[in-house]
């Protein structure tokens, strides 16, 4: 419990989770709201949205690794071209930015699809009533779409929360948790301790704490949302 190394990994993990939730959820809701409601556009959008979800983790990592290489990667070269000193293997900030971007690219679609399903289930009468009541589009979002999306949003949030604690493959493939320890999240640390160093005792303790952290977070979130629902 007093291990500084564990605390650092946990801190990084929480920061990462917070960041991706703050980006993916609003972005997902936003994209779902702008998606077409009928016509051929629906199919095209749904297929486009589902594509990243079909790609395995390690492929995402490998893909972004090449994509972001500072000297030959499309992204890396471009960022350097416009004047950034982009290098994910040496600079912790860019390493983080790349891992977060990767996760957002990979998983925002899940939030979009869930929210889109929620939006589609709102009967037309709600939109018609709001028109007659003279509501603005912000009010439609605030008082109709958001409350109706709440359930699916809860599920999206829980899924992303749990998944983000599982993050392993992408930063591992990208940088092996580096530079230094800067992208060593809980799971990577755990594997390093358990399988790299074969310190099974501390690793077991870590994994139990890891489990309880996820459980606690999910429970808090779920209870908060359900209490809101029953009131």
């Amino acid at each position: 419990m007093r291990s500084e190394r564990f605390h650092d990994a946990l801190g990084r993990q929480l920061l990462f989770t917070l960041l991706i939730l703050l980006i993916e959820v609003p972005l997902g809701v936003g994209i779902a709201l702008t998606m077409p409601r009928q016509g051929i556009g629906v199919t095209i959008c749904l297929v486009l949205m589902a594509l990243p979800l079909l790609i395995p983790w390690n492929v995402v990592g490998a893909m972004w690794n090449i994509f972001a290489l500072p000297d030959i990667g499309l992204l890396g070269k471009m960022l350097n071209g416009v004047g950034f000193d982009y290098n994910f293997t040496q600079n912790p900030f860019w390493a983080w930015a790349t891992v977060v971007a990767m996760d957002v690219w990979h998983w925002t679609s899940l939030v979009v699809l869930l929210c889109y399903a929620g939006l589609r289930s709102i009967p037309d009468a709600y939109y018609q009533t709001s028109k007659i009541d003279g509501a603005t589009s912000w009010q439609v979002f605030r008082y109709i779409q958001l409350p109706k999306m709440k359930r699916v949003l809860t599920i999206a949030l829980l899924l992303r929360l749990m998944d983000s604690f599982m993050i392993y493959t992408e930063p591992f493939v990208l940088n092996g948790g580096g530079p230094g320890n800067s992208t060593t999240f809980l799971s990577i640390d755990l594997v390093k301790v358990a399988l790299g160093q074969f310190d099974l005792g501390p690793a077991a303790a870590m994994s139990i704490i890891y489990f309880f952290v996820v459980l606690l977070l999910c429970w808090v979130l779920y209870t908060l949302m359900m209490r809101d629902e029953t009131n």
Binding site: P123, A125, Y126, Q128, I132, G134, Y143, I144, K148, N231
Partner: protein, 357 residues
């Protein structure tokens, strides 16, 4: 308050309508006077809701005009038409309290808070919801939610027309009566023009001064409940209204009279020779009497509905329903029927065959 005039209104959901079948509404001409209570009655898919959405501005008509009094509102958006609409499924803003729900349309129209409060309180009292104002709307029953939908229209002083799209569909049967009478009372109290869409004839007939019956995108008859019952202009009206509906019997025209299953049927008027040979005789079960002589019929079944009985009988291969009070003695197998000439009508191609002039 205002009257509503529909001029040559047509609507099609397809962008390039070619034939009559492409139109959900085929040419509607109609005037609804100020402060009246009107029902739009028809089976599902006959265009009732389309017509309602055209009046409220949720749809733009393909052709024709909509006038409120003399003002052309055809191209105005819903919030500028001074209408309110209550839908089949109760619509409330779940996260708001009952009070905020009722105040919502007024706040959007920038009404001063003091006046707003006075109105909301008054309407809540009318709806007997003054004790629920602080409650969250999501926890209410369907009936209460529907009252709020209605209330959001009532609070607005600018509402000319209140439209109801089958508003009692999801309400429990025992609450239906209560809500219905509350609605009728409010209509008298506030005096808005009311248009009520339904496929339930009881609802239409109890609510409205005048009922518009629609069928396949057309208006087939406009009239008081009494007129629809005793003089259906179209076989659809005859069949749709009444429980069971009008008996429609195939007949022929011979020497100035209708002949059904070899029997001349007496009518109370002289009719010219019909233009088509597609003829039907229409008579309601209520106007057929059991007699000692007349048209012979075979009884097939007798349904006891409580206060009266319905005899299902057969005449020359055609089935018909006959209404019989509890006091009438019904023979066991065969009987003779007597058609009331005042209520026997001839239909030519579905439309009532009438004397000209």
């Amino acid at each position: 308050m205002s009257s509503i005039t529909l001029k040559s209104l047509r609507h099609s959901y397809s962008p390039n309508p070619q034939t009559e079948e492409d139109y959900a509404l085929r040419k509607i001409d109609l005037t609804w006077r100020d402060r009246g209570a009107f029902a739009l009655l028809g089976p599902s898919g006959c265009g009732k809701t389309t017509l309602l959405n055209l009046i409220s501005g949720l749809l733009k008509p393909s052709e024709g005009q909509i006038l409120f009094d003399e003002r052309d509102v055809t191209t105005l958006p819903p919030d500028q038409r001074n209408i309110a609409q209550v839908f089949q499924f109760p619509v409330v803003y779940d996260t708001m309290s009952v009070y905020d729900n009722l105040a919502f349309p007024l706040r959007n129209r920038k009404l001063p808070e003091a006046e707003l409060d006075e109105r909301v309180q008054r309407i809540a009292k009318m709806l007997s919801m003054q004790n629920q104002l602080k409650q969250r709307a999501s926890g209410l029953t369907a009936a209460d939610k529907q009252k709020i939908s209605l209330g959001r229209g009532l609070v607005r002083s600018d509402v000319n027309v209140m439209m109801f799209d089958e508003p009692l569909t999801v309400i429990d049967p025992h609450l239906k009566w209560e809500l219905r009478s509350q609605l009728m009372r409010l209509h008298q109290q506030v005096g808005f023009t009311m248009i009520y869409v339904t496929h339930d004839q009881t609802e239409a007939l109890t609510f409205a001064d005048e009922v518009v019956v629609m069928y396949e995108g057309q208006i087939v008859q406009i009239g008081t409940p009494e007129e629809l019952f005793s003089k259906p202009r179209h076989t659809f009206v005859g069949h749709f209204i009444g429980s069971p509906g009008m008996n429609l019997l195939p007949c022929e025209w011979s020497a100035g009279a209708a002949v059904f299953a070899g029997h001349r049927i007496p009518l109370n008027k002289n009719l010219p020779h019909p233009a088509s040979s597609n003829l039907q005789l229409g008579i309601r079960p209520e106007f057929i009497r059991l007699a000692s002589e007349g048209i012979p019929a075979q009884i097939q079944r007798v349904d006891d509905v409580g206060r009266y009985r319905i005899i299902k009988a057969e005449v020359g291969g055609t089935n018909l329903n006959i209404y019989a009070g509890e006091e009438v003695e019904i023979p066991s197998d065969s009987l003779h029927l007597d058609f009331d000439p005042d209520h026997t009508h001839v239909y030519c191609d579905g439309w009532m065959h009438e004397a000209k002039g």
